[in-house]
């Protein structure tokens, strides 16, 4: 039972003026802190009689019932959170400590920011709505990523033994997504660990690396390595690791971070291709091959060119003191397209293997 009987109250934040807190010295507020005008009114002032604009059909709009009591509760909560965030902005202005963290806290409760993030494409983001230049959106993406995709990635890396077969361990910090733009039928983001036809992987993948932490995007360089730890080493009766593709000195922006053919074409020579792309050409009857994409933050530019395919990734990482921040992987198995890919790349004809169970030991 609500107990205040006598005090007559008025809701402090009337629905008319709803603007979130901002620093006093702010010139122009980022566009991404405002919800699209189509939804803004119903988000801040409540769903009108016509129904919520987020529903497409008129029928469902008419049938929609907003929960009662939400209007008042939202108004008061909005005012409360806004005051708190104004306090945080005042704190930022008075001291420069922990600035990014305070900025995040000041915006993370803003319903418009949360709306923009929840209902727009997070991967192919439109900076109008999701602007990863703003730390709050990076924080939201981090939470979203950790709630699912990061777990999925680590599960696959562990189950498919990408760790420790390539690198010993890995602390994921940066979401990496993969797409094969050359292929017009498999034109989707690849889930880590998918088995792809050699036809799809005939040309290099396009890699999206979304930095989440506060780094200097002007100077921070990244290395991308694609390694295949499942190449047959017949002489030693074992497997060896080869490098399929390598890029270094890649610069990434928070909003423009998709390494596509277009970007590589238009590049002014700053990106160093460590070694050109060798597509997956698995041998007949050998087990599925894994292709692990590793993304590193590099402390200094790397301008070497690799001549050998055989590759010791652990040594390379150690020599260049690289810091693994992101990963992805796909798998590839022999199919009828392999011969075509071999022909395209001028590779020799594939070897056909058969399994020997017997006594032949590893050398």
């Amino acid at each position: 039972m609500a107990t205040v009987a006598e005090s007559t109250s008025s809701v402090s934040a009337k629905s008319a003026d709803k603007t979130w807190a901002k620093p006093s010295n702010l010139e122009n507020e980022p566009r991404a802190f405002k919800a699209p005008s189509k939804y803004r009114s119903s988000l801040l002032n409540g769903v009108s009689k016509e129904g919520p604009p987020s529903l497409s059909s008129k029928k469902f709009k008419l049938r929609y019932n907003s929960p009662s009591g939400l209007q008042d509760a939202f108004d008061v909560s909005y005012a409360y959170l806004r005051d708190k965030s104004q306090e945080l902005y005042n704190k930022i202005e008075s001291s420069n400590e922990n600035k990014t963290q305070l900025e995040i806290e000041a915006q993370i409760n803003n319903p418009e920011v949360r709306f923009n993030f929840a209902y727009n494409d997070k991967l192919e983001n439109d900076p109008q709505y999701i602007d990863y230049e703003q730390p709050v959106y990076r924080e939201l993406l981090k939470q979203d990523w950790e709630s699912k995709d990061q777990m999925l990635l680590m599960q696959r890396l562990e189950q498919l033994h990408a760790i420790p077969d390539t690198l010993p361990t890995f602390e994921p910090k940066v979401p990496v997504s993969l797409k094969f733009l050359n292929h017009t039928t498999v034109n989707r983001w690849i889930e880590p660990g998918t088995v792809l036809s050699s036809n799809v992987t005939a040309y290099p993948p396009s890699i999206k690396i979304q930095e989440l932490e506060q780094v200097d995007t002007k100077t921070q360089l990244y290395t991308v390595l694609i390694v295949n730890p499942d190449v047959a080493d017949i002489a030693n009766n074992t497997y060896k690791t080869q490098i399929s593709w390598g890029l270094s000195n890649v610069k990434l922006e928070y909003n423009d971070n998709f390494i596509t053919p277009r970007r590589l074409l238009e590049d002014d020579g700053s990106i160093n291709e460590l070694i050109d792309y060798l597509p997956p050409v698995p041998e007949k009857n050998l087990p599925t091959q894994r292709f692990v994409v590793w993304v590193f933050r590099q402390p200094a530019p790397i301008n070497v060119k690799l001549t050998e395919r055989d590759f010791n990734i652990r040594e390379f990482v150690k020599v260049n003191s690289l810091n693994a921040v992101g990963a992805h992987m796909w798998r590839s198995t022999w199919d009828l397209n392999v011969s075509k890919v071999r022909e395209l790349y001028g590779l020799p004809k594939g070897t056909v293997f058969h399994k020997v169970r017997g006594e032949k030991r590893m050398k």
């Binding site: 033994h161 420790p164 077969d165 390539t166 010993p168 361990t169 733009l181 050359n182 017009t184 034109n187 040309y203 730890p229 047959a232 080493d233 017949i234 009766n237 074992t238 497997y239 596509t260 053919p261 277009r262 590589l264 074409l265 238009e266 007949k284 009857n285 050998l286 009828l336 395209l344 790349y345 001028g346 594939g350 070897t351 056909v352 293997f353 058969h354 399994k355 020997v356 169970r357 017997g358 006594e359 032949k360 030991r361 590893m362 050398k363």
Partner: protein, 353 residues
Amino acid sequence: MSFLSSTRALGLFKGLSLGPVIQVRTATKKVAGSKTSMKDSAGRRLGAKAAENEPVKTGQILMRQRGTRFYPGENASIGKDHTIYATEPGYVRFYLDPFHPNRKFIGVALSPELRLPTPHFEPRVRRLGYVPIEDEAKASFEEQNLKRKDHLLRPTILKELQERAAKRQAIVEQYKEQLKTIVPELSDNELSIAAERLSNVKNHLKNGVTLPDAQATVTSIHLQDLKLQNKKGAISPEEYETSNSNYLSLIKKVDSSVSFDNKYQLTKFLTPEARQGKLDELEAQLQSLTEGKGKDSKKQLSKVLDMSTLITPAEKKLLHAKYVKPLLPLNHGLAKSVTKRWNYEKKRVEPLA
């Protein structure tokens, strides 16, 4: 036996003739059970079947046991009676694993100098276990040998591929014709390269890729192909240089003079401003058509929208919603019997007006 119980017993046999009663003297002492102590089975020959560091083959039994006194370690497995056997040829190791402090393991090290367990963060040591088929004929036979499912599917796939290639060829031809009118100065060779390129770009566009991205992807693939041809010696370095630069100049010319309409046909290149102008024209036309009311005007409106090759599907949807969409009556899509409606304000039934 009491009287009561005996009568009850008699009741069970109601209807049967009673024979002479035979007295049975039951045992008053329990019979002493005899203990069989000679029931030992023969030994089950349990125990280790291979010693530490002993070379073993695949499938060789390392340990017979009851229950899991030992657990299978690296390159070893366990059978249904808990027998541990080798899954790879190598050298037997009895070892402890810090991750399972209460277990003892039997594993197989793949080479004599290796210790088990393999350090946690080191790469796994793996044996290939496959050898190449040396005999050419056998190898090619094996290569052609597909899984049953793939084998059965192959003819349909091939057929479909052929059909697709034919379709593609047709589009290329079509584009060639269209290109001839739009960019007449192209040579035959250039024409076919440009048409090929445009058909590839079209495929990407259909997937929702933006035009510059699609063009860049197609360009990169073409250049990559040229590079590969040069690398494998199909074309000489000079040829490579010339065709590379030729292609780049060609696409500059084509991309600046050709664009796609909404049905993926080639049209003359439209600058964004020109396109906007045409769109405005279209909207003005639609506006003028809406002024004349009636069924015919709606029909005309949708016809104009359908005929326009300029607008994207999204724009078409918007314009349709703006100009063509009829204001549906309340009873649209309802059964004919529905003649009344509920008035929520007045809380009563009203005729459907």
